[in-house]
C-alpha cells in the first residue's frame, strides 16, 4: 500500500506553513521561499532531529536540578521551609491527601519524564529509520505535543503563591531554583516536540 502512496516530497512539491500555497521546490542545496508570502519553505523541517535532540538533552540535564532543588521556599512565623517537588508530594501523601499527591505526582514527575522518554523513543526510531508501528508513534507524538503545556501547572502554582503570599514577617513564599529548572524542562521538551517533524516517522516507509 505504501508503494502506491505519492508524497509531496517525492514530487518535489512544498507547502507554505503560513499561507498554505503549494509550490514546486528547486533541487537541493538551497533554502526556498514561498513565492507568495516569502516564508522559508522546506520539504522537511531542517535539522529537525538534531535540534530536537539538542532541546531534549538540555531538558534531560535540567530535569535533575528540577527534582533535586527546592521548588518553593516558604518562610513563616513557624520557621522557614524549602520544598522540592518530591517532598511536597510526600507531605501531601502523609497528610492524607493522597488524591492530590497523585495528581501532583502525575503532572509534575511522571508526565515530564514520560515526555522525555517518548521523545527519545521517537528520535531514536526516526534516526534508525525504523518502520515499527508508525501509526502508534504518530499517536504518541500527538499526545506528547498535546500534554506539553499542562506540565506548567506546578510553575503556575508556585508563581501565583509567590506573588500572593508576601505578608512580610508573617509568611513569605519564594520560588526556588528548582522552579526555574522545572520550567525550563517543560519549555525545552515543548520546543523539542515542536522541532520534531512527525513526517519523518513515515519517510522510512517510502
Amino acid at each position: 500500500m505504501s508503494d502506491t502512496l505519492v508524497t509531496a516530497a517525492a514530487r518535489g512539491l512544498l507547502s507554505c506553513h503560513v499561507c498554505g500555497l503549494l509550490s514546486r521546490g528547486g533541487h537541493g542545496g538551497q533554502t526556498l521561499h514561498c513565492p507568495r508570502c516569502s516564508t522559508p519553505l522546506h520539504v522537511r523541517k531542517p535539522d529537525s532531529v538534531a535540534r530536537s535532540w539538542a532541546f531534549l538533552i538540555a531538558a534531560y540535564i535540567l530535569y535533575i536540578p528540577a527534582n533535586v532543588l527546592p521548588i518553593m521556599e516558604t518562610s513563616s512565623l513557624f520557621g522557614a521551609q524549602a520544598d522540592t517537588i518530591m517532598s511536597g508530594i510526600l507531605y501531601l501523601w502523609h497528610s492524607g491527601s493522597w488524591d492530590l499527591a497523585l495528581v501532583v505526582f502525575i503532572a509534575s514527575i511522571m508526565v515530564p519524564l514520560l515526555k522525555l522518554i517518548a521523545l527519545t523513543l521517537l528520535l531514536f526510531s526516526v534516526q534508525r529509520r525504523s518502520t515499527w508501528q508508525p501509526l502508534q508513534r504518530a499517536k504518541l507524538y500527538r499526545v506528547v505535543e498535546l500534554v506539553g503545556r499542562w506540565s506548567m501547572l506546578d510553575i503556575y502554582v508556585v508563581a501565583i503563591l509567590a506573588a500572593l503570599v508576601q505578608i512580610g514577617a508573617l509568611a513569605t513564599i519564594n520560588a526556588g531554583p528548582g522552579a526555574l529548572a522545572f520550567g525550563a524542562v517543560v519549555v525545552l521538551t515543548m520546543f523539542s516536540a515542536m522541532e520534531f517533524d512527525p513526517r519523518l516517522i513515515w519517510d522510512p516507509l517510502q
Binding site: 505519492v6 514530487r11 512539491l13 512544498l14 500555497l21 503549494l22 509550490s23 514546486r24 521546490g25 528547486g26 542545496g29 538551497q30 533554502t31 526556498l32 521561499h33 514561498c34 513565492p35 507568495r36 516569502s38 522559508p40 519553505l41 531542517p46 535539522d47 538534531a50 535540534r51 539538542a54 532541546f55 538533552i57 538540555a58 531538558a59 540535564i61 535540567l62 535533575i64 536540578p65 533535586v68 532543588l69 512565623l77 513557624f78 520557621g79 522557614a80 521551609q81 531554583p177 526555574l180 529548572a181 525550563a184 525545552l188
Partner: protein, 550 residues
C-alpha cells in the same frame, strides 16, 4: 492513472524562490543543551557545595524534636535542621539526624554541646520562653577542642554559660550540694560574678564536684589563696561567741549561691590557671580560718568537770584563737586512783607567733618556744566562753605564780600543764571562807546574845509603864488646855469678822466718807469759779455782780 489526472495541476504550481543555505544554523542549536548543562550544573554543584555535614545527636527523649521542623540554632541563628528522629536499636535513647550548614563544619568538635531548648523555670529566672511560640529547637555551644566528631550526645539541661563567654572555670569540691543548683550565682564582695555551670557526684560517692564559671574581669581575683564558701540561704550558728546570722543576698537566700574571697595577707598570691580545684567550705567562717600548716596535739588533765566543753571548742590565748579542742575523754590514773578529765587539743603554734613581726621561725623551733613559754608560766585553764550558753573554752595564759611545770614531751600526745579554772578557784575561796566561819565560837556568841535580849526585855517593860503613866495623868490636862485654846481662837475670829465688816467697800462708814469727799470737791469748784470772776471783775466786790447783757 492518478498521475495523469494530476499532471495539468502540477504545471500551475509556482516555483519556490531559492536562496543560498546558511550552514551555521546547525551548530547554534546545540548551544541550548550546553547552556542548560552549565546552568543545571551550576545549580546542582552550588547546592551540593552549600550542603553541610550531617551529624547524629542522641537524646534521652524525643520531646520537642520533630523531623524536618526542629531547627538547630547557635546564638539564636539557624545553623541546621533535624532531618530524622529515630529510636536507637537498644530503645534506651533517641537519635536525631541533623543536617547542618556548611559554615559550622569546623566547629563540630569533641566538646561541642547540643541540647533541646525548652521553656525552663528556675529560681534564677525563666528561659526559653520563645520556644512556646516557635517550638523547641536544638541549641549549640561550640567547643574548643580540635578533635572533629560526627556523633554527639545531647545534654538534658542547657549549659549555664556559653563556652566562649570570657572568664574562667574552676572546680570546687564539697561534701554535699547544699541548696545549690546549675545556674546558682557566684558572688565576690556581694557582686554576682559568675554561676554554677555543672555539678556531679564524685566517683567514690564521697563528695560533690562543682564546676563554676567566673566571668572576666572578676576571674583575676581568684588566686591561690582564695576561699570559696557556700553562701546559701541563712546561716545561723551558735557557738561560744554567741548567736550569729549570716546571709549573702535575698537572691542567695532563695536559690542559694557561692561566694569567694581572697585571704588578706601581705604579698599577692600568684594568680592561678583555669580549672584549678578549690574546696567549697560550708560557711564563711570556716573558709576564712587560717589554714595552718603546722599543728601540734596536746593532752591536758583537768580535775574539774568539763561540762560545757565540746570538741571544736576554741583554745584561746588572751582572746586569740590558737587552736581547738579535738577530744574529751575520762582518764583513770592507776597510780593516784583518781579519775580525771583528759582533754586533747590541737594547737597551731604559728599563731602564737605572728608572721607579721619578725622572721618566720623554723617549724622545729616551736617546741622550744612552747617550752620557754611554759617555763614562764603558760598554763591551760577551763574558762566560761559564754555565760548565756554555759559553754566552756580552753584558755591559755601566763600564771607566774603557778607551781613549776613543763610540757611532758615523752607522752604521746605531749602533756600540757594545766591550772584550775577560775570557777574552781572561786570554789576554793568559798571553801576557805566557810571553814573560817566554822571556826567562829558561835555558842558563846549565842549566850551573850540571849543575855542581851533578856536585858532588853526588862527595859522594854519599864518603857511600857512610863507610857501608861503618861496616858493616865498628862493627857486629860492637855485636853483641857486645848479646849481653852479653841475658845480663844473663836473670840479672835469674831473680832476679825467685825473689823472686816467695817472695812468692806459697801460699809456705811465708807459711803459717808465718799459723800463728804464729793461735797468737798463741789465746794472747791464753786470757790474756783468765784475766784475767777473776782479776778476778771474785781469791781464786783464793790458794785455787785453785773447782769449779763443779752
Amino acid at each position: 492513472m492518478s498521475e495523469m489526472q494530476q499532471e495539468p495541476g502540477l504545471d500551475d504550481i509556482p516555483e519556490a524562490v531559492p536562496e543560498p543555505r546558511k550552514r551555521f544554523s546547525l551548530q547554534l542549536v546545540w548551544l541550548i543543551p550546553i547552556v542548560a548543562a552549565i546552568i543545571g550544573g551550576i545549580l546542582v554543584v552550588r547546592t551540593y557545595l552549600q550542603k553541610g555535614p550531617t551529624i547524629t545527636i542522641t537524646f534521652k527523649t524525643g520531646d520537642g524534636l520533630e523531623a524536618g521542623k526542629t531547627k538547630v540554632k547557635y546564638k539564636d541563628v539557624e545553623v541546621g535542621l533535624v532531618k530524622e528522629v529515630t529510636i536507637a536499636r537498644d530503645i534506651t535513647h533517641v537519635i536525631a539526624t541533623v543536617e547542618l550548614k556548611k559554615e559550622v563544619t569546623p566547629y563540630l568538635v569533641e566538646d561541642t554541646k547540643f541540647w533541646v531548648v525548652r521553656p525552663r523555670i528556675s529560681g534564677g529566672g525563666i528561659t526559653g520562653l520563645g520556644t512556646l511560640m516557635g517550638g523547641s529547637y536544638i541549641g549549640v555551644d561550640v567547643g574548643t577542642s580540635k578533635q572533629q566528631q560526627q556523633e554527639f550526645t545531647g545534654l538534658e539541661v542547657a549549659p549555664a554559660v556559653a563556652m566562649d563567654a570570657p572568664g574562667s572555670r574552676f572546680q570546687l569540691h564539697s561534701a554535699d550540694i547544699g541548696s545549690l543548683d546549675i545556674g546558682s550565682p557566684v558572688y565576690f564582695r556581694r557582686i554576682q560574678v559568675g554561676q554554677v555551670v555543672s555539678y556531679e557526684l564524685d566517683k567514690d560517692g564521697k563528695g560533690v564536684t562543682f564546676k563554676v564559671f567566673v566571668a572576666a574581669p572578676y576571674d583575676k581575683y581568684v588566686r591561690a589563696n582564695t576561699r570559696f564558701w557556700n553562701a546559701s540561704g541563712v546561716d545561723l550558728t551558735m557557738d561560744a561567741s554567741g548567736l550569729k546570722l549570716d546571709t549573702q543576698s535575698l537572691m542567695s537566700i532563695l536559690i542559694g549561691g557561692i561566694a569567694f574571697q581572697t585571704l588578706d595577707e601581705s604579698g599577692e598570691a600568684p594568680p592561678i590557671s583555669a580549672n584549678t580545684a578549690f574546696t567549697l567550705f560550708a560557711t564563711r567562717d570556716e573558709a576564712m580560718k587560717n589554714r595552718d600548716t603546722i599543728s601540734q596535739g596536746f593532752a591536758m588533765i583537768f580535775k574539774e568537770s568539763v561540762r560545757g566543753l565540746s570538741p571544736g571548742a576554741t583554745v584561746d590565748f588572751r582572746g586569740v584563737t590558737v587552736g581547738e579542742v579535738s577530744g574529751i575523754h575520762v582518764a583513770h590514773d592507776a597510780r593516784s586512783k583518781e579519775v580525771n578529765m583528759l582533754v586533747e587539743m590541737r594547737i597551731y603554734p604559728e599563731r602564737l607567733r605572728s608572721r607579721v613581726v619578725g622572721s618566720v621561725p623554723d617549724p622545729n623551733e616551736y617546741g622550744a618556744i612552747l617550752n620557754e613559754m611554759v617555763a614562764h608560766g603558760l598554763r591551760a585553764q577551763l574558762m566560761s566562753g559564754n555565760l548565756l550558753t554555759g559553754q566552756l573554752i580552753v584558755a591559755l595564759d601566763f600564771f607566774p605564780n603557778a607551781p613549776k611545770a613543763n610540757v611532758n614531751w615523752a607522752l604521746s600526745p605531749p602533756r600540757f600543764p594545766t591550772t584550775p579554772g577560775s570557777l574552781v578557784e572561786l570554789q576554793e575561796t568559798l571553801m576557805r571562807i566557810v571553814k573560817k566561819l566554822e571556826k567562829l565560837p558561835l555558842d558563846e556568841v549565842a549566850g551573850d546574845v540571849r543575855q542581851t535580849v533578856q536585858t532588853l526585855d526588862a527595859t522594854l517593860k519599864d518603857a511600857a509603864k512610863l507610857v501608861r503613866r503618861v496616858d493616865k495623868d498628862i493627857l486629860p490636862e492637855i485636853g483641857m488646855t486645848l479646849e481653852e485654846a479653841r475658845k480663844t481662837l473663836d473670840e479672835g475670829r469674831k473680832t476679825l469678822s467685825a473689823a472686816k465688816q467695817t472695812l468692806s467697800a459697801d460699809a456705811p462708814l465708807q459711803q459717808d466718807l465718799r459723800e463728804t469727799l464729793r461735797e468737798l470737791a463741789r465746794t472747791a469748784q464753786s470757790l474756783r469759779v468765784l475766784t475767777d470772776y473776782l479776778e476778771r471783775h474785781p469791781e464786783s466786790l464793790i458794785r455787785g455782780k453785773q447782769e449779763d447783757t443779752p
